[in-house]
Every structure is written in structure tokens, then in C-alpha cells.
């Protein structure tokens, strides 16, 4: 140290003297803002250095912090990715469980509903062949399964048992080329033979060309094969091609649409009826209106009329009420009511006409049976106001049949008598 100072003694002294004088200047001089130059110089000298140091510190700190954060982010990313994968698998598992539970529930419901004696079984394996349409069930001869038994699901037939082992059984699916079953169409009861093709669709053979089979129509088992009881759903017609002497009908089996997991083995089959095709304009059931709450007035029909016939009918009723005439009473030759008297129009908000007590129940339930077939049949059987046109007295055009009150034949909301 001493050698160093001796070596640079002159320049050191020079720098010290100059520095001392610089300090002297700095202490004396003030700048335009009346700040001593020593402060200005100090700040000017220090701040760039501090800025550089801060930049270095911030950069280093940011670098390490970002690095650490990135490191953590990568770790978090890996952890979250793993958690996402786990949740995906769990979600898929739960979906499968829900689907399985739904199928099991449907299977139990079907098992309780059907008249045939069945036994639930699960598919435990599939056939080893590439084009194999064979599955193995977890029920075998030990459970009472025998060769030739039908295997179904609530959606449709699945196949038939071709081998029964002590603890398992082998089932040929409906799509197997060697599979065959008697089927009948739902609409026109066209009989054919369902055969597998090794594909997803099956073929219905021996359907004469003159028979009518529609696309979208359902086929059911006919019971002719002594394997499948009659009335089990088979599939939906997808393709119909004309041919001679038999037309080509392709059916998509409904029993295999959602995969095969849980099935029913038909131990003792009972034939059941093939459900009828629902009519296009099937009646809609309308429930009874809710009872009025305490203190609430029941809803009365307003008696609003729309057509001229309605107004004429209303007018005749008012005339009859004014003259104390009951339509339908009185034999031939009796005095008819005077239809020329003036009747004041009903007040607003009042019912247009008073209905007879006998008509009340009928009018109250008429709405719920408006579209039902029984209501239509009843309407046919009951005489209506239109029947008065066939009476021998043209002066009494609204004379109803004595078997049914006039008011009851015109329920609110229904077309008035013609």
C-alpha cells in the first residue's frame, strides 16, 4: 500500500488538491434554484450510479424472481395438467357410471314390467375374432342359462345363447351373419326373417314385394322362431329397396344402439302383444282444473259468443227465459214462444246466459274431454241443437231433444250447435 502510494504520490496529491477545491466550489456556489452545487453535484453524481445499480439489482432480482416463478409455473403447470388428466378420467368414469346406472335402472324396470321370466347378466368379454359378433355373459348353466335362450335389453333384442358354460354363456349377436329371428312390422304386420350381415345393420328377408314396409317403421319379434317371445322390439327400418320376389329391407337393431353391457336372458318367454302404432292425431288428456282457493271465486264461463249462430242461440235462450218457456217441452200444437219480443242485451261482465243445473257438471268437465275420443263419441250420440232442423215445426228452430238439455250440448269452448 505504501509502495503504491509512493509510486503514485504526485498524481494522488494532485487529485486530492483538485478534489478539495472542487468541494470548496461546490459548497460556495448555488445554482439557479438556490441549491448548493455540492448538493447538485452529489445528486448528479450519485443518481446515475444509483440508477445503474438499481437497474442491475432490479434486473438481477427480476431475473431470479422470474426464473423462480417460471420454475414454479412449470411445476404448477405439470401439477395442474396431471390434475386435469385425473379429473378428466374421473369425469369419464362418472359418466360411465351414470350411464351404467341408467341402463341398470332401465333394465330393472323392464325386468319388472315384462311378463317373461328373465335374468340379468353382464357382458364380460367379446369374441376373439376380428369380425366376431359374439359376446360372453357372466351367467351360465349354473344360473339356469341354456342354449337357445333369447338375450334382450329394454331397447330391443340382442342375440341368442349359442353355448352355455357353467359360469358363462356365449351369445350370438343379432348382427352375426348366422343369426336369424322371426320378425313382424308394427304397422302392417309384415312378417319376415331378421338376419345379421356382419355389419351394424341387419336385413329382413322374405318380405314380399307387394307388402308395404315404410322407412322408420319398427319391427318386433314375431315369436315364430321359438326363441324370442313375440312383441320384443327388434329395430327400425332404415332402408327399403324394391325387389322381386322379395324387397330388401335393412333394419338398424335398437338393442345394440348404445352398446351392450347389461342384458336380460329370457329364461321363460311369454308372448306379448305388439303395440299399436299411435295415431297421428292422438287425443291429448287434459287434467281437471285445480280447485279454487278459499275465498276465490271459481272461474265462470264468460259466455262470449263469436259467430252468428252463437248470437242466435243466445237470443233464443233469453227469449225462452223471458217467456218462461222451456225448450223441448210441450207437444205438437203447443204455443211456441214469441221470438219477436225485444230482449235487453246482457250487462257487461255477466254471463250471457244462465245454464240449467243439469248442464253445469257437463260444462265443467267438457273442456278436459274436448279432444278425447270418448267425448267425440258422446258428441255423436247426444242430440245437439242442430237436430232441431229435423223437427216438424219450423217455427221452433231451437227445440232440442228431450233426452239432453240444450245448454248441456254447448259446452264452453266448444263449437256451438249448427
Amino acid at each position: 500500500m505504501e509502495t503504491l502510494l509512493n509510486r503514485y504520490r504526485n498524481i494522488t496529491v494532485l487529485l486530492l488538491v483538485i478534489f478539495a477545491q472542487l468541494v470548496l466550489i461546490a459548497v460556495q456556489v448555488r445554482n439557479d434554484q438556490d441549491v448548493r452545487m455540492v448538493r447538485v453535484w452529489s445528486i448528479t453524481a450519485i443518481t446515475p450510479l444509483a440508477r445503474v445499480l438499481e437497474a442491475i439489482r432490479g434486473g438481477a432480482s427480476g431475473f431470479f424472481q422470474n426464473y423462480i416463478l417460471m420454475h414454479d409455473a412449470r411445476a404448477d403447470n405439470r401439477r395442474l395438467q396431471g390434475e386435469l388428466d385425473r379429473l378428466k378420467m374421473e369425469n369419464q368414469f362418472l359418466k360411465t357410471e351414470i350411464s351404467t346406472a341408467d341402463r341398470a335402472k332401465a333394465l330393472v324396470a323392464f325386468q319388472q314390467h315384462t311378463q317373461s321370466r328373465t335374468m340379468a347378466a353382464r357382458v364380460i368379454a367379446a369374441g376373439a375374432g376380428a369380425n366376431s359378433k359374439v359376446v360372453f355373459l357372466d351367467r351360465g348353466s349354473g344360473s339356469g342359462v341354456e342354449k337357445g335362450m333369447a338375450v334382450v335389453t329394454p331397447d330391443g333384442i340382442v342375440g341368442k345363447v349359442i353355448a352355455a358354460y357353467p359360469t358363462a354363456s356365449e351369445v350370438m349377436l343379432v348382427t352375426d351373419p348366422e343369426f336369424a329371428a322371426g320378425v313382424v312390422s308394427q304397422k302392417n304386420h309384415v312378417v319376415g326373417t331378421l338376419k345379421g350381415q356382419g355389419q351394424s345393420a341387419c336385413k329382413v328377408d322374405y318380405v314380399p314385394s307387394e307388402e308395404k314396409v315404410e322407412v322408420g317403421e319398427n319391427f318386433y319379434t314375431s315369436g315364430d322362431d321359438r326363441i324370442f317371445p313375440k312383441g320384443f322390439p327388434v329395430g327400425v327400418v332404415r332402408v327399403v329397396r324394391p325387389g322381386s320376389p322379395y324387397q330388401e329391407v335393412l333394419v338398424e337393431p335398437t338393442g345394440l344402439q348404445h352398446g351392450v353391457e347389461a342384458v336380460l336372458i329370457v329364461l321363460e318367454g311369454v308372448h306379448q302383444a305388439i303395440p299399436e302404432v299411435p295415431p297421428a292425431n292422438a287425443p291429448v288428456y287434459l287434467g281437471t282444473p285445480p280447485p279454487p282457493a278459499p275465498g276465490e271465486q271459481p272461474i265462470q264461463p264468460t259466455g262470449l259468443v263469436g259467430t252468428d249462430a252463437d248470437r242466435l242461440l243466445q237470443k233464443y235462450r233469453q227469449i225462452g227465459a223471458a217467456e218462461n218457456h222451456k225448450f223441448g217441452e210441450g207437444g205438437p200444437g203447443a204455443k211456441p214462444p214469441d221470438f219477436n219480443i225485444k230482449v235487453p242485451p246482457p250487462a257487461a261482465g255477466e254471463p250471457a246466459t244462465s245454464q240449467s243445473p243439469a248442464a253445469e257438471p257437463a260444462s265443467g268437465r267438457a273442456g278436459e274431454r274436448a279432444n278425447s275420443p270418448s267425448a267425440a263419441a258422446e258428441k255423436k250420440a247426444a242430440p245437439v241443437a242442430g237436430d232441431v232442423h229435423r223437427t216438424p215445426k219450423p217455427a221452433n228452430p231451437v227445440a232440442p231433444s228431450p233426452a239432453r238439455p240444450l245448454a248441456g250440448s254447448v259446452p264452453p269452448g266448444q263449437s256451438p250447435p249448427q
Binding site: R9, I11, V17, Q21, L22, L24, Q28, V29, D32
Partner: protein, 177 residues
């Protein structure tokens, strides 16, 4: 300049180092400063003479000591600052410190007894003095003063002429070897 170089040069020119009495070392600079601050009040054109600078150059050259030269320059400069109104202490001090240091450094290496050398050195250090003062005034004080090169060069020549004469006179004040 390293210590080894200084010792080598000093050893070779030890016999050329001029020595002055202490009262001369004090009186001459004071006289130069008094002349600088007093005479121009009556003879304004003499204000262009930088006698303190010339004295600094002379003692630094002749003493051939860098530390001695810088202290002489610092002393004369601070004294000049202290007698100058509106001049912060240190401005002339810094400038003359550097001039004394570099003048002594030059005096260690060349023969400064020759008049032409003295003339050139005086001219150069006057220009260096003026330029350094201008730089410090702008840099440290923020004063926007102009630097007139031609005037500075002319005044440098004038001061060099006066300096050669002054140096010849001051040589008489040296102690005999």
C-alpha cells in the same frame, strides 16, 4: 509519471533545480496577485496580463517538482479567487493547480532556461489556463461564457512576451547554486 521516472529525471537534473528563499516564494506571488487586482483599476489594458499565472509557471518550471508546482498553483489560484468578487473559491485554484503540476512535469524533462522554450511554454500554458477555466466555468458553474480563440491566442502571445521578460527578472532572485 512514475516515481521511478521522477527519481531518474530528478537525479539527472538535480543540479538544475532552482532554489528560492521563502520570502521570495511568498512575496512574488502576492505581488503578482496584488498587481492583478489592483493595477487594472487604473490601467485597464494591464488587466489582460495574468501575472499570477506567469509566476505559477515560472516557479513550477524552475522548481521541477510536481507536488511543489501544484501547491504553488493552488495557493496562488485560491488567493486570486479570494480577491476576486463573484468568483467562487477554487476556480482559479483548480486551474492553476493543474498548470503548476504540468509545468513542473515539463520542467523535469526539458531545459527551461532557454528563452524560446519559456516563450512557447508560457504561451501554451496561458492558452491551457484560459481554456480550462472556460471548461470549468461552463461545467461546474453553468456559466455560458464565450471562448474567443483569436483573442486568447493574441493575449497568449502578449503574456508569453511578458512572461519571458518576467522570468528573466525572477531568475535574479534565485539562490546561487
Amino acid at each position: 509519471m512514475t516515481e521511478y521516472g521522477d527519481r531518474y529525471l530528478v537525479g539527472n537534473q538535480r543540479e538544475q533545480v532552482s532554489r528560492f528563499r521563502a520570502r521570495v516564494m511568498l512575496a512574488v506571488p502576492l505581488a503578482a496577485i496584488l498587481f492583478q487586482v489592483y493595477v487594472p483599476r487604473f490601467l485597464e489594458f494591464l488587466g489582460y496580463l495574468e501575472l499570477p499565472l506567469l509566476v505559477t509557471i515560472y516557479f513550477a518550471l524552475m522548481r521541477r517538482s510536481q507536488i511543489g508546482g501544484l501547491f504553488i498553483g493552488a495557493f496562488i489560484g485560491l488567493a486570486q479567487d479570494s480577491l476576486s468578487i463573484k468568483q467562487p473559491l477554487g476556480m482559479f485554484g483548480i486551474v492553476k493547480t493543474l498548470v503548476g503540476y504540468f509545468a513542473a512535469s515539463v520542467g523535469l524533462r526539458i531545459d527551461v532556461e532557454h528563452s524560446v522554450i519559456r516563450f512557447l511554454l508560457t504561451f501554451f500554458f496561458y492558452f491551457f489556463h484560459q481554456f480550462l477555466y472556460w471548461v470549468l466555468a461552463r461545467g461546474l458553474l453553468g456559466r455560458q461564457i464565450p471562448f474567443e480563440i483569436q483573442l486568447t491566442l493574441v493575449l497568449g502571445l502578449l503574456n508569453a512576451v511578458v512572461g519571458v521578460t518576467l522570468f528573466h527578472f525572477l531568475d535574479k532572485l534565485r539562490e546561487p547554486a
